[in-house]
């Protein structure tokens, strides 16, 4: 991460000085400015396994730099091998998300960082105070918090911890992909003809750009909205009524939504509905960015699709695999059969492979599989 350290060393003006091609300025909250010391503290907290009940799980366990800040698993594994229900989204470019988590139940990076620490299937700490006790007993930490936040050990709050983690995460942005060099940089040979044809499919017959949006001078490839695209919920059609009702009753009685959606697959598949209770958001999940998508397999909120080709086939079938399977009744209006040709599907996949930033690029012979192999070796 030499590249990143270089940026950080530029200090407060780093993002203005070195804007990666294809990305807008990173939105930075007024109450949490980025400083090199804060980023360094955040990175240490991000990697500290002591903030888990078993002392074995850190943020980086599921958001590992070697796998583009994902875990390359279908769903994440927390303490004692416990599995959650959702595929770890990459931290890379999460700074641009309007909401965090697949269902958007968190409004900011700062708020997001509060939850995995105490979620029973993730890091499972008994409380945030338990985290603070560890920090207050560590002289390096207390020195760093005083330096960054001007607080004495007893004044350290969990908000300081999450601010530092969020500041670190805001430095994990990546553009400069071959696509960026072609589309925004004007380098005609930055991507192949197949990728260029795939971009045309992306804009037209594939209907992709309506949700994975691009702008005139940058592209985040997300509309920051929530859509039922037929993943997970298709199989639960007959049980939605009872599940939705049971969940709302439990929620009214005070269950922890964060714990509920990560410990029960059925509840997880309710999607955005579990957050808002809005009937029109049953099974809806946030549009993820497509940046670095070729190195963040598997796909979808439950990691149920292994390859980009399967993802395109799912959309080409109108939100189902196989093509003759029934779609769920709550399907979003944008999802319908596309009738793409095999050539168009191949080109679309090639286009998505052109969205990988250089720091996450792997040898072209193997793509995401190489990332998986590398991870196993560690």
């Amino acid at each position: 991460m030499r590249w990143m350290l270089l940026l950080v060393s530029l200090g407060a003006a780093w993002h203005a000085a070195a804007q990666p091609l294809g990305l807008p300025p990173v939105p930075i909250p007024e109450d949490n400015p980025i400083t090199p010391a804060k980023v360094a503290l955040g990175e240490r907290l991000f990697n500290d396994v002591r903030f888990s009940s078993t002392g074995a799980v850190s943020c980086a366990t599921c958001h590992a730099p070697a796998t583009a800040f994902t875990d390359a698993r279908q769903v994440s594994v927390g303490i004692n091998g416990l599995t959650g229900t959702r595929n770890a989204p990459t931290v890379v470019n999460a700074a641009y998300n309007a909401t965090q988590f697949w269902d958007g139940r968190s409004p900011s990076l700062e708020d997001q960082a509060l939850h995995p620490i105490v979620n029973p299937v993730e890091m499972a700490m008994p409380s945030h105070d338990a985290v603070l006790e560890i920090i207050r007993a560590d002289r390096e930490y207390t020195r760093a918090f005083r330096n960054v936040f001007d607080v004495r050990p007893e004044q350290i709050r969990i908000e300081h911890v999450t601010k530092a983690i969020a500041a670190f995460e805001r430095t994990q942005v990546a553009g400069d992909s071959p696509f960026d060099r072609w589309y925004f940089g004007g380098e005609d040979d930055a991507i192949s003809d197949a990728a260029k044809r795939g971009f045309d499919v992306f804009l037209t017959d594939g209907r992709c750009v309506s949700c994975h949006t691009i702008e005139q001078d940058h592209a985040l490839f997300t509309d920051h909205r929530f859509h039922n695209i037929g993943i997970g919920v298709n199989a639960m059609q007959d049980r939605i009524g009872e599940l939705a009702k049971a969940f709302l009753v439990a929620k009214a009685q005070g269950i922890d939504v964060d714990a509920a959606v990560l410990s029960d697959p059925d509840t997880s598949h309710l999607g955005r509905f579990a957050v808002t209770g809005d009937l029109s958001e049953i099974g809806a999940f946030k549009t993820p960015t497509l940046r670095n998508v070729a190195v963040t397999a598997p796909y979808m909120h439950d990691g149920s699709l292994a390859t980009l080709r399967e993802v395109v086939e799912h959309y080409n079938n109108g939100g189902v695999i196989p093509a003759d399977a029934p779609v769920n009744h709550y399907l979003s209006g944008g999802i319908r059969p596309l009738n793409l040709t095999e050539q168009q599907i191949d080109d679309l996949v090639t286009f998505m492979e052109s969205l990988t930033s250089p720091q996450f690029a792997v040898p072209t012979t193997s793509g995401p599989v190489a990332a998986l192999d590398r991870r196993e070796e560690q």
Partner: protein
């Protein structure tokens, strides 16, 4: 931050408006009077189920109706019944009506149907009647007298003599801005039936009229119009609380004329834009504070929706479920004596209309 249990319940209750506890919340928000029995019904309208050929139907319209039915089935507390507001079919064929009826059969609640012109003008409602019953009728529910009218009739000459085939007649009535079209009307025979039906109903009994076309005159070119609206309104006028719920317009409208409140329903199929002119009579221009944004051609459900209706002390609040948009509620405001959008009516919170594209 720790929250006490009471605080959590209040917060989660507010967050859930629109699903599990919406009925009581909506009632509390505007209900001042005492007495009467409160209840909810769902209102789905204008699905325009369209056959392409054989077993192939337009997927978009199918999805709209299926989704509204599936979501209405999730309402909690359960609604007492569902009204389908007309235009189940596009061209009134048996295949379309059967396919639509099959989808409606998934509803967990009793169903009352209203005749739309797309259901009617092929065989003059004969097959629709085999499926759904009388063209016009009334029933009582928890102290409210419901009247269902067939408001899409027109002049006898147009219906019975002008067209060489029923198919041609159906197609002529299906078009907008069609010089060959003809204005909708309830007609003298049905008005007489209505007078008799209401003869023994006390003036204080709340009346809810379900019709396909607006029982008010909005825009003649699109039949957002009922030719004998004034005569029908005159029959309803003596009653203290009257609500007319109509489909056909595929957009949110509301209005108050005397004691009569008017509310429209969204379509599950597609939206209509607001007519560019509101001709004829200024007094009948409905209150429309927010011209609907352009429907997103990508999102087939954009600017469509369905609604559930809270009936409280004989007045209604119409709760619109709007896909990928903010849900809206148009409720009778006892203080002003008219239906109002509970949010957008307030000028400081009004969304400016879209002026360019």
């Amino acid at each position: 931050m720790k929250m006490n249990r009471r605080g959590f319940l209040q917060r989660s209750g507010a967050a859930m408006a629109g699903s599990i506890l919406p009925v009581s919340l909506v009632k509390l928000a505007f209900g001042q009077e005492q007495g009467g029995q409160d209840f909810t019904f769902a209102y789905i309208s204008d699905s325009h189920i369209q056959q392409i050929s054989g077993a192939r139907f337009v997927r978009n319209w199918d999805q709209g109706l299926k989704r509204a039915v599936a979501e209405a089935n999730l309402l909690e507390p359960a609604p007492d019944f569902v009204v389908f507001g007309g235009d189940l079919a596009q061209l009134g064929t048996k295949a379309e009506l059967d396919h639509g009826a099959e989808m409606l059969s998934a509803l967990r609640y009793p169903l009352y149907c209203v005749m739309g012109e797309h259901d009617y003008y092929l065989d003059l409602g004969e097959y629709w009647s085999e499926l759904f019953g009388d063209h016009y009728y009334s029933f009582d529910h928890k102290g409210v007298h419901f009247v269902v009218l067939n408001s899409i009739l027109t002049y006898d000459e147009w219906t019975y003599e002008r067209w060489e085939t029923p198919e041609r007649r159906m197609l002529e009535m299906a078009g907008l801005d069609n010089p060959n079209g003809s204005p909708f009307m309830v007609g003298e025979r049905q008005r007489e039936w209505l007078r008799n039906d209401l003869a023994n109903v006390p003036r204080s009994t709340p009346i809810v009229v379900l019709s396909h076309s607006p029982l008010q005159k909005i825009y003649k070119g699109w039949n957002f119009w009922t030719e004998d609206a004034e005569e029908v309104q005159a029959i309803l006028a003596p009653f203290e609380k009257v609500t007319v719920l109509y489909g056909h317009v595929h957009q949110i409208q509301y209005n108050q004329i005397g004691s009569i409140s008017f509310h429209s329903a969204m379509a599950t199929a597609w939206p209509w834009p607001y007519p560019s002119t509101y001709a004829q009579s200024g007094a009948y221009v409905p209150v429309m504070t927010v011209p609907m944004n352009r429907a997103d051609p990508f999102n087939e459900r954009d600017a469509t929706g369905w609604q559930f209706v809270d009936v409280h002390t004989g007045r209604v609040a119409v709760n619109y479920t709007l896909y990928d948009n903010k849900n809206r509620t148009v409720a009778f405001n006892a203080a002003t004596g008219r239906p109002e959008d509970m949010e957008y009516q307030h000028p400081p919170r009004r969304i400016p209309p879209q002026a360019h594209y």
